[in-house]
């Protein structure tokens, strides 16, 4: 029997192409035009979600599920805005350091208490959401230096900005490390089978702590950049970036079981989410439409990633065949 690994590998790019075609057709039918400005808005959205999808995706490749990237995004923004009152560099550095600390705490708890990272980061999600309210005193905190936000998001080459270049650079660096270095190979090995990686003496602990630090730091980075851009940060997560980030990683071919996925795939998944989001905005769809779209995409991702999907489909087919003896006779 022929194996079909190639289909799974190109699926993220096929999905992206389908999303682009669908949005182009839908907007054309609606009489809306797509301009370079549309591309700019789309890339800015991708730059917001991108670091979260990247961190979440790489952690998932190593077999670690960081559910707190959305909360870390919000908390990181508040830290950056509050600590950066005198200089934005200080605010950014503080936020990134806090992110690294959170990742180290997660990693330590995962290793010491021998718990699933999913459990630990869910506790982190609750704690960080609360901490954002405590730190900001439940208010929107503001940032007086508007110039940094303007510089970050000023269009470069029509569709890019420093903001999106920073995020692209993150993808490039993490992608190269994952694909070409020993550390990258260790991430895949630990995600594929932690027990096997332990047996052959790979630095499992370093990988587990490393990917959790990476995802928390990247989430803090994105939160900080958005905080500077909006010149404010609020503890209320009105639109939780966790949803599009998970969708981007899963559409990008990352498996929840670990060991599978590429940074290029995550990037394609990210663009897919950004295209869908931009399409909904262009069609001036109501906000609940994006809730429904994200829910449907997430459910589709959960179903396609389900380990027992094939055997369940087979069983269902067999039952159908048993119920339709005529069809079976024909086939035989």
């Amino acid at each position: 029997m022929k194996r079909r690994p190639s289909f799974g590998r190109v699926l993220p790019y096929v999905t992206l192409a389908i999303a682009v075609v669908a949005v182009v057709i839908a907007t054309a039918l609606d009489g809306k035009t797509i301009t370079l400005a549309t591309g700019y808005v789309m890339l800015e959205y991708a730059a917001t979600i991108g670091p979260l999808a990247l961190g979440l995706g790489v952690a998932l490749i190593a077999g670690q599920f960081d559910t707190s990237v959305g909360a870390m995004f919000g908390f990181g923004g508040i830290v950056a805005v509050m600590a950066g009152a005198s200089s934005w560099e200080l605010g950014l550095a503080t936020a990134l350091a806090v992110g690294a600390l959170v990742g180290i705490v997660y990693g330590t708890l995962v290793l010491v208490a021998r718990l699933d990272s999913l459990t630990i980061t869910l506790g982190g999600l609750i704690t960080l959401s609360g901490l954002a309210y405590v730190l900001s005193d439940s208010k929107t905190v503001t940032f007086s230096d508007y110039s940094i936000g303007i510089r970050l998001t000023e269009p470069v080459l029509e569709v890019f900005s420093i903001h999106s270049f920073v995020v692209l650079a993150c993808f490039l660096v993490v992608g190269l490390v994952l694909a070409y270095t020993r550390a990258g190979r260790n991430v895949y090995a630990v995600g594929g089978s932690r027990a096997a990686a332990e047996r052959v003496g790979l630095p499992v602990r370093k990988v587990v702590v490393g990917v959790l630090v990476l995802s928390a730091v990247l989430a803090a980075l994105s939160g900080s950049l958005i905080g500077f851009t909006l010149a404010s940060a609020s503890p209320e997560n009105t639109s939780n970036p966790l949803f599009p980030a998970i969708i981007a990683a899963l559409i990008g071919g990352v498996r929840l079981t670990g060991g599978v996925g590429t940074v290029l795939g995550i990037f394609a998944g990210l663009l897919t989410v950004a295209v869908v989001n931009t399409g909904l905005n262009l069609l001036s769809a109501p906000t609940y439409a994006s809730s429904l779209a994200y829910g449907a995409l997430l459910l589709a991702a959960a179903v396609s990633a389900a380990p027992d999907l094939r055997s369940a489909v087979k069983t269902a087919r067999r039952r159908m065949a048993d119920r339709l003896p005529a069809g079976r006779a024909e086939a035989g």
């Binding site: 599920f65 559910t67 708890l109 010491v112 208490a113 021998r114 718990l115 699933d116 999913l118 459990t119 630990i120 869910l122 506790g123 982190g124 999600l125 609750i126 704690t127 960080l128 959401s129 609360g130 901490l131 309210y133 405590v134 439940s138 503890p235 209320e236 997560n237 009105t238 639109s239 939780n240 966790l242 949803f243 998970i246 899963l250 929840l256 109501p286 906000t287 609940y288 439409a289 994006s290 809730s291 429904l292 994200y294 829910g295 449907a296 995409l297 997430l298 459910l299 991702a301 959960a302 179903v303 990633a305 389900a306 380990p307 027992d308 999907l309 369940a312």
Partner: protein, 326 residues
């Protein structure tokens, strides 16, 4: 099960004793903290606690079945509560009994659908329930156009659900107590209860033994949905209107109660009555913190730390015992 030998001598206490002593010590500390807070020891405040604890008890009771079945947690119970609260008020026009039944069935159906994905094809419970929460919120906002749902004019009987006291205790609290007792009986004495524990403890073994693990999971999610539907009835009846916002702490409260109750996050071990007691303890703590000026959102910080502390203690004690259940 760890292959690494763990020195048991390093633990000063018998782990079994530590497990028994910790909750008692925590409860005592909480009691002292509570009693020393001004405004805590009043009848009105006690009733306020019992009124607020009812919803958390309902949700965490249902959630315990999901956790016990080895499917970690659901993140869609809060959305189900808000959705069924709107459903309750909108369906009051058919009478209060019909409205309650509609909510119970609606919640159970929504839970069962998620359970079908998780149990039937092994879909990840976190991703599936996150998707469900987004779909439920989107659907309810779409149907209600984001406007508050109000009960039909002249409908007042539903206030009795949350405003009547029986022996000084709100009816909704009796409701919650009854549910905990029933759920614990289901867990202890029915075949389904034993199946849940077996599937959660070792899914492969349960499957080999001929248990229909998918069906057990589906029913666990349906029970959780049913309880969330009941929670929605109480929330709708208490506030007299329903709006579906994004921020609510129901999910986090329920999850923290289940974990604090000592239910093993990997499943197979735990008890509903302990979840109920933990929910009560969390409600008392929340009330005391509120009296100290800490809003429910600020309190998430404390609850998150309690969550992390509880899962770590339960897991470390288990490791020290050599990974054996007992």
């Amino acid at each position: 099960v760890s292959s690494r030998p763990v020195p048991t001598a390093s633990l000063p206490l018998d782990p079994r004793l530590a497990v028994r002593a910790l909750p008692v010590a925590a409860a005592a500390a909480l009691a002292v903290f509570a009693v020393s807070t001004s405004g805590f020891l009043t009848v009105a405040n006690g009733q306020a606690i019992l009124l607020s604890v009812a919803v958390t008890v309902l949700l965490s009771t249902g959630l315990t079945f999901i956790t016990l079945s080895g499917n970690f947690v659901s993140l869609s119970l809060g959305a189900t509560v808000l959705g069924t609260a709107a459903l309750f008020l909108a369906s009051l026009k058919f009478g209060i009994v019909a409205a309650i039944l509609i909510c119970i069935l609606g919640g159970a159906l929504v839970g069962a659908i998620q359970g079908a994905f998780v149990g039937g094809i092994g879909a990840n419970p976190i991703v599936t329930t996150l998707a469900a929460s987004s779909l439920i919120a989107g659907l309810v906002v779409g149907v209600t156009h984001g406007e508050a749902v109000l009960p039909p004019a002249g409908a007042h009987s539903f206030h009795a659900l949350t405003q009547t006291n029986l022996i000084g205790v709100p009816v909704s609290a009796w409701f919650a107590l009854g549910l905990v007792i029933v759920a614990q009986c289901v867990l202890t004495w029915t075949q389904y209860g034993r199946e849940v524990l077996l599937v959660g403890a070792n899914r492969d073994a349960a499957r080999s033994a001929g248990l229909r693990t998918g069906r057990v999971t589906l029913i666990a999610f349906a029970i959780a949905g049913l309880c969330a539907g009941l929670g929605g009835v109480l929330v709708g009846a208490r506030s007299g209107q329903a709006t579906v916002g994004f921020a609510n702490t129901y999910d986090f409260d329920a999850i923290t109660a289940v974990v604090l109750g000592g239910t093993l996050v990997t499943g197979g071990r735990g008890a509903v009555w302990r979840t109920g007691l933990a929910a009560l303890a969390l409600a008392v703590l929340g009330n005391v913190l509120l009296l100290h000026g800490m809003t429910i959102y600020n309190q998430l910080f404390v609850k998150g730390l309690i969550f992390l502390g509880a899962v770590s203690v339960v897991s470390i004690v288990r490791i020290r015992k050599g990974g054996r259940i007992g």
